[in-house]
Amino acid sequence: MPLKTRYELNLGMATREAFGRALVELGRENPNIMAVDADLSKSTFTHLFAKEFPERFVSCGIAEANMVGVAAGLASHGKIPFAASFSCFLLNKAFEQLRVTVAYPGLNVKIVGTHSGISIGEDGPSQMSVEEISLACSLPGFVVLAPADEVATRALVRAAAEHVGPVFIRTGRPRVPVIYSPDQRFEIGKAIELVEGSDVTIMANGLMVAEAIRAAEALDAEGISVRVLDLHTVKPLDREAIRKAAEETGAIVVAEEHLVDSGTGVRVAQAVAEMHPCVMEFVGIQNTYAESGPPEALLEKYGLTAPHIAAAARKALARKRGR
């Protein structure tokens, strides 16, 4: 299988930790970078930034709506605040602030959701975020990023800081496989082709990218040629890569750790419908909340592992071939 990158898929750090470390690096380079937090700094890893730059760290207490308002105010002074909390609290409790005081005036606020998806695990549904891609993408002018590993996270946190305007970055709780070599280049809005293929394309982001690669490996053994794209930017979508996938492979599977009704998949489907309609299948969380449990067990139970992606790809291929 033609691989564009090294991928032994060894376990690396969690993307939330990669975010916290990248933020410290940025803090050293740019005195305008700030961290704003809501009593979860050890979980979001903003405590690393707080330790090194206490005067540029603001804890708002357990008050996510307030936190985003404070971040908007800081941004109006030319600061570059990164506001971090669990995705569920940040996007849901502060959505009104994100709409009226961040998106509408287009303020330069960076929103970092950690513990996204169901892979937070044991804490259960009230702490799981399965709708934030949808919420963030619904905000005009927002850039929405969902990095797959520590390398991608580091690069995209940097890209977010350089981008002028609101950005949402989705990170996760568990450690995830390292997919990229340290010198991989990332550009907002530019998908990365991880595996070349011509029969079917699997598009994924976050921790589903590693699963997509594993699925491609299994399908390759069956003689199916699979293209894998990392859609690390959900907004703006890489329409060119999507158009090419639709034209050249004629079948697309989108895999995401998110409600399937409202996430990356439906956005890709819109682009496909506009440019080059083709067969599509969607892997994600169906119309339900999950439950408490170990992350791996939940990903399996709720249909978010490589075998489920491979099954969807086989189905897409059969539909494409008219079977």
């Binding site: 050890k42 044991e122 259960g124 009230s126």
Partner: protein, 278 residues
Amino acid sequence: MTSEFDPARLAAIARDLRVLILRMIANAGSGHPGGSLSAVDIITYLYFRHLRIDPERPHWEDRDRFVLSKGHCAPALYAALARRGYFPEAWLWTLRDVGSPLQGHPDMRKTPGVDMTTGSLGQGFACAVGIALGARLQGKTYRVYAMLSDAELQEGVTWEAALAAAHHRLDNLIAVIDNNRCQTDGFTADIVAVEPIDEKWSAFGWDVQRIDGHDFVQIHAAFQRALQPRGRPHVIIADTVKGKGVRSMENRPEWHAQPFTPEQAEVFIGELFEGGSS
């Protein structure tokens, strides 16, 4: 319950519940020991002396309601519910596992005896206001209890709910604040201060009492007083100790959600029986 008030009996039950909490969290591999241990004396009082409930009929229409607004301390509630017979104690050893009726945070659809789904701080209390309002509208005489944490007072919705309850003169609503003075990132006073708590609630129109939340005599007196209608909602500010009962955890914010092994749990349980604490 209608039994005599017997502080020694309640202290013995609370100690048993602490053992269950520690073993439950260790077995699950994650959870929130500190706030569960600070809350458990009040939860013991409510479930073993005070609430009008019937474990045989968890959906009994006229039961008192209890909303654990600080939902992360579910292990304290689960221990009490199991001991009161709402479900088998064996369920406690499935906490946080796939398929378990005991979720990481309270789930009113999965766990008998849980009156409201919680886990996002601030929300449970607002629901309790709605339950109290609903009780009045339906001419019901049951009471609604809500347990909040001190750091939950940082959430704006808490104060929105407090205003609404006072405006509607909900004297069937009794809020308890488990004031253990710690939150995730440290001491509440160092993160975003919430004191003076009593003055704030008085200003919001509530009947305010302040007690030692580990002293059953004071707990009993406060809840008895809260049964008397005063035309306003009641709040009991319970000064507590995070990690109460386990010496090496007491008043140490780092034990908010730190995991520990079953072997460590037994060491902590040994500390419980060193005597002194409740």
